[in-house]
Symmetry: C2
DNA sequence: ACATTATCTTGTCGTTGGCAAGATATGCTG
DNA sequence: CAGCATATCTTGCCAACGACAAGATAATGT
């Protein structure tokens, strides 16, 4: 089977599912998740307007697949950051900035089926990668793993969300990694 | 002019603008901001499908008005919390939970005209109320107002956002105020 | 080779956002 | 109080969308 992964000009696309997810990332990057249109994705992929339905059922199905992909990418990125909680936090913010489309969908549960078992599994993998850094911290007088993990998650998630929303004051958000580092350090001194 | 504020059965509604904003809060509370439909709001208010356009221009205009209202409500709620930064943070989370519809729109700039001057003014009022608590804190060795305000804002915004997204582990989010208090304290001990 | 299945197309329906043109109420000015 | 200007709401329309049904075409298995 030649040209299995390449764009196929004939009746069959070759890898339409992947092409549609990539087109969705592109479209969301341009206009946000709310303006996403299945017909636009079909046009971008060069197929008919009803082709996406076969792979994802409906719009929520496509966004569900995108959320699963996002949580897996996040788990991978956090895993690559090692055991240092500071670096994990920086990686979290970097993921939000670099994969804005995935991130926006992942935390907008009204847009997809957040109770889907595949979503729950991917979300659990990302959660484990995040909690790993808290467990590796040196024990201190006021350390309480559950609360510390929640505080760390909250502060990086809040920083990332505010930055994506354009709500940060102009000066502080120029370089997301530096800003994240400063804010996270504030949590641990 | 009798029944100025009440629902008017005749050709004119009486206070359609307010009724539409209230209907929007109700509808967003039921199905989220993405599923909002101007025609549905018109039906809820008992007017024709094109009536909303006169007051808000288009859908983004209505959501812009809702964001302005939200930032003003937030500024008021933070002002009522006093000067204690902990209580301001708790009030921020309580606002997000009690006014979920406003909050979700306020921080989804893709849905409305975030550069509208009225939005900018209301946003500035809320920001001033938030920074007031940081300025009132006792000076310490590692206190740096700009960074501290950003850290405090990030942690309460992140906690609120994660809670609204249903991403928090089951046990920790039962009572939002208690959870917020514990997380914010972690920032200042 | 043939049948079965997966993939994609065409056609259609109800809903939505937005615009244009008209109807009706309100207010202002003399 | 008469008459005009304005604000508010309605009806009618169009293009785009999501979803569904039915059919066409390619790939796979036996």
């Amino acid at each position: 089977m030649l040209r299995r992964m390449t764009a196929n000009r004939g009746y069959h696309h070759g890898d339409l599912r992947r092409a549609l997810l990539a087109a969705a990332v592109e479209a969301i990057g341009e206009s946000g998740p709310a303006a996403l249109s299945l017909r636009d994705l079909a046009r971008r992929a060069g197929v008919s307007h009803a082709a996406p339905a076969h792979h994802f059922g409906d719009k929520a199905g496509l966004l569900t697949a995108l959320a699963v992909e996002g949580f897996d990418l996040l788990a991978e990125a956090l895993g690559r950051a090692g055991d240092d909680l500071l670096e994990i936090g920086v990686a979290y913010v970097r993921f939000a900035v670099d994969h804005r489309a995935h991130f926006e969908v992942m935390f907008a549960p009204g847009l997809y089926r957040a109770d889907d078992p595949e979503v729950a599994a991917a979300r659990a993998r990302a959660g484990a990668a995040l909690r790993g850094g808290v467990a590796a911290r040196p024990a201190g007088p006021t350390v309480e793993p559950g609360r510390d993990a929640l505080a760390a998650w909250s502060i990086v998630h809040g920083f990332a969300t505010l930055r994506l929303a354009g709500a940060l004051p102009p000066g502080s958000g120029d370089n997301p990694e530096d800003g994240a580092r400063a804010v996270i350090r504030r949590l641990f001194e």
